[in-house]
């Protein structure tokens, strides 16, 4: 009997430990349940879930990118405007040839060109960020603040501050289509998350990212080329923003100067809620995705419940602060 009691206690402890370790999951489940109750289960129905997936997919790419950067103790503020620029560039190569206001009127580019151009643009900005941080030794906050402004300027110059619209259907369908009931966008996220998961969990490179974030000096004296790894992580993140921008222009069918504005803050908030510490060296892909979904149901839920959009911002802010507060407490207990 005593053994039984001990066993039960151990199991109880196991659950408590699991919940303690997965605060992000707990937050998500609690919020989802609250929303489920308030909508009388409607939020659990497939159309709602599907909408949530479509709405959050693009952000998930940004979160995966910046999540990795934060693991190396960095930050990236350029996301919003880089994604905006990428969306504009990709849209400009996907406009219908007979559209009067097209950036390249009369040109019918092959369908892969917008992707190549968009992803390269994203990767280039990421690479630039990486070089500034790794070799220029600029603080990531300042370096990416600079590239943020450059991306903004480039977007306005490139589009002459106009809307890049009338995107070809063949391009749109890649972002708007679905496989059976599942939206394409969600599938892309699954693939990207799997790749990032593999990278972080199962490759030497991923281990290096954690080491650099956890203790850059230790990483260096263990023979890791810290500068190179930083360039790689920012570039990789840039490629992910590139994909995000292409998918966004496809989903919206256009791009303008307001596209993706503020996405960097959403992405940073999401991964922070998901347990990626700003101090560097901790965090998982699961956490990043849970973070995105958590912010997603907050947005979605409040819209569903008809909360005024100004109040939405307020509530969102509070929820983020509370979630992070609990994280910080967890880490400072050690």
């Amino acid at each position: 009997m005593a053994a039984n009691a001990v066993g039960a206690l151990a199991r109880k402890k196991g659950i408590a430990a699991f919940l303690g370790k997965n605060t992000n999951l707990v937050t998500f489940v609690v919020l989802a349940t609250i929303l489920g109750v308030m909508t009388r289960g409607r939020s659990f129905e497939w159309p709602s879930v599907r909408n949530l997936m479509i709405a959050e997919s693009v952000r998930a790419f940004a979160a995966l990118g910046v999540g990795m950067i934060i693991i190396t103790r960095g930050i990236d503020l350029s996301i919003g405007y880089v994604v905006c620029l990428v969306a504009s560039v990709s849209a400009s190569f996907a406009q219908t040839p007979d559209y009067m206001a097209a950036l390249y009127p009369g040109m019918d580019f092959p369908i892969y060109l917008p992707f190549i151009a968009g992803i390269l643009t994203g990767g280039l900005f990421g690479f630039f960020n990486g070089v500034l941080v790794a070799y220029g030794k600029l603080p990531a906050f300042i370096a990416t603040l600079g590239t943020m402004s450059i991306a903004r300027g480039a977007q306005l110059i490139y589009t002459k501050a106009a809307v890049v619209g009338s995107v070809k259907d063949a391009y749109k369908v890649l972002a708007q289509g679905s496989v059976g009931p599942i939206p394409n966008l969600a599938l892309y996220v699954v693939v990207a998350a799997a790749i990032v998961w593999f990278l972080l969990r199962h490759t030497r490179r991923g281990t290096n990212f954690y080491a650099i974030g956890g203790n850059p000096v230790a990483a260096r004296v263990s023979g890791i080329n810290v500068e190179k790894e930083l360039v790689v992580v920012y570039t990789f993140a840039g490629l992910l923003y590139g994909i995000a921008g292409c998918l966004l222009s496809g989903r919206l069918g256009l791009a303008n100067a307001l596209t993706a504005n503020g996405m960097e803050l959403d992405a940073i908030a999401a991964v922070t809620v998901g347990g990626i510490s700003q101090a560097g060296g901790v965090g998982t892909v699961g956490g990043m995705i849970i973070g995105v979904l958590t912010l997603g149901i907050i947005n979605y839920g409040m819209t569903y419940l008809g909360v005024d959009s100004y109040y939405q911002l307020l509530v969102k802010g509070f929820i983020i602060l509370v979630a992070v507060y609990f994280y910080i407490r967890k880490y400072s207990q050690r």
Binding site: F198, R201, H202, T203, R204, T207, N208, Y210, A211, G214, N215, V217, A218, A219, R220, V221, S222, G223, I224, N225, G281, V282, R334
Partner: protein
């Protein structure tokens, strides 16, 4: 002479290295034989770590040659050095606390699976190799444990295991024993002897004299960035070595502590930690002019106890009386207000502000006493006082405005000691005050302790060094597993008795 070459596995010839304001290395040469332990000695700031960092590719020397196994070596990074067969235990712990032991050990060279161009980590092999390594070194550490969750001495053991695992032909150990107990140091020596038996050369840096004569074959001594020479250990003794290091006779190891013991200053009654596995029901008194030593093994909760007295840790019951009145101490602020100062054990973690200057680091805890008209800091007086305390301890720094991170490890420690001396505490708690500090400066610190006591201050000193514990304390209180197992006084205070009390529950 041509034959002599083959005798050495490593030769560093005429190395120069300067930092802004200091010539850290000035024409330094070092010859290391394979299969031998080569001790590198010198005062704080003599240039020992700098020389080793040049060897390890962390610093680029301004001039000179490094010849490794007969070939000219040019290392641009730690990676180059590791690949050429040089591994190093660094003076400051350099691990990634949030990752597991096994990941830390194989960092940068993890075992891989290969599928054509794709490689990925072989977690299983990593675990097995770590377990085998720990077994071989007789260390009881679980490869899956989180590094940051281990005690400091276990973390140090992991650093040792890591350095060994490179199977290098030269292993540099920069103060590997500073956070180890005597038993653990014995263990380290067994590992070192095993290495040298297999032909590995070990370069060993330490400020603990007795260790040198136990383990070293050759001894090189540096002073002020210059190499004085190399001697077989058998031709030296402690006095000779100290004289070489400090450049003057220094026969006395401890000053006489002749203070007058006065009235009760601090009373601790039944203090119990809020954490379950920490100290329990500890009571003791401290009088004016008294130096109370606290001894015990690592894990005896000595640091936890003094941190609780200083308001850094929560207690669940018990009380503290200062000058006969009950003192409520919930934070270091409260403690400082009651005239208590604490020199912490972990100077990297809770001591220094790396980017601030020596002056600022010294003055930061006593700024309150240097305010004119309730508003303006008196910079000139602050600098003068900070300088005075650092000069007393002979802190070696290019200027008072140098960033503290650019000082040698031992000199950073001296700045911390200066900080708390500058607060003019009535009760000074010193947790391992001389860890990593050279012999000359140890004596200075002891002298200051004796002088403080003479002026009626009270001192609590936590120490793992038996000589200093017995040499400096009026009374020695011993903890074992969080319990107060006894207090020794006068002739009773012997090494045997301290050890008996320290291992009472084992």
């Amino acid at each position: 002479m041509a034959d002599d070459r083959a005798e050495y596995v490593l030769e560093m010839l005429g190395i120069y290295k300067s930092f802004p304001g200091v010539q850290a290395l000035d024409d330094v040469s070092l010859h290391v034989r394979p299969g031998k332990v080569h001790a590198l000695m010198g005062e704080n700031g003599a240039g020992k770590s700098t020389l080793m960092k040049c060897l390890f590719g962390i610093y680029r020397e301004d001039g000179g040659e490094i010849i490794l196994k007969g070939r000219l070596a040019k290392f641009h990074s730690a990676k180059d050095a590791l690949e050429a067969g040089v591994s190093m235990i660094h003076q400051e712990l350099s691990n990634v606390p949030e990752r597991s032991v096994r990941e830390n050990i194989w960092l940068g060279r993890e075992p891989l699976h290969r599928f054509g161009p794709i490689t990925f980590l072989n977690h299983g092999k990593m675990h097995r190799d770590t377990a085998a390594l720990m077994k071989r070194l007789e260390m009881n550490i679980d490869p899956a444990d989180r590094m940051g969750g281990l005690s400091i001495s276990k973390q140090q053991a992991c650093e040792i295991a890591k350095a060994v695992s490179y199977e290098a032909s030269i292993v540099v150990m920069d103060e590997p024993s500073s956070s180890l107990t005597e038993t653990e140091t014995e263990h380290l020596f067994r590992i070192i002897r095993d290495l040298t038996a297999r032909g590995v050369a070990v370069i060993y840096i330490s400020h603990k004299m007795s260790e040198i004569f136990q383990i070293a074959d050759d001894v090189s001594v540096m002073r002020d960035g210059k190499m004085l020479g190399t001697w077989p250990a058998s031709e030296l003794d402690e006095d000779k070595l100290i004289k070489l290091m400090v450049g003057r006779d220094n026969t006395q190891r401890f000053p006489t502590v002749d203070s007058e013991i006065g009235e009760l200053r601090l009373e601790v009654r039944g203090l119990t930690s809020a954490e379950s596995r920490s100290f329990k029901d500890v009571s003791f008194d401290l009088r004016r002019g008294e130096i109370l030593g606290i001894g015990g093994l690592v894990g005896a909760q000595r640091t936890e106890l003094v941190e609780a007295i200083f308001g850094l840790r929560k207690t669940s019951c018990g009380e503290i009386l200062v000058n006969g009145k009950r003192a409520v101490i919930r934070s270091p602020r409260d403690a400082i207000r009651h005239g208590i100062g604490l020199i912490t054990e972990d100077r990297r973690g809770s001591g220094i502000f790396p980017l601030l200057s020596v002056t600022e680091n010294t003055a930061v805890a006593s700024l309150g006493s240097y305010i004119r008209g309730g508003l303006l800091l008196e910079h000139r007086r602050i600098e003068a006082e900070a300088r005075r305390f650092n000069e007393q301890l002979r802190t070696k720094t290019p200027s008072m405005w140098t960033q503290i991170q650019n000082l040698s490890g031992g000199n950073q420690q001296k700045v911390l000691v200066s900080r708390w001396l500058m607060t003019l505490p009535e009760i000074l708690i010193m947790d391992e005050p001389t860890r990593g500090i050279d012999v000359g400066a140890k004596f200075e610190i002891y002298t200051i302790m004796a002088e403080l006591a003479r002026n009626g201050k009270s001192i609590i000193m936590v120490s793992s060094e038996m000589h200093e514990l017995l040499g400096m304390s009026h009374r020695v209180m011993v903890l074992c597993a969080g319990r107060h197992t006894g207090t020794l006084e006068g002739p009773e205070a012997s090494q045997e008795n301290v050890m008996r009390l320290a291992t009472q529950f084992e």
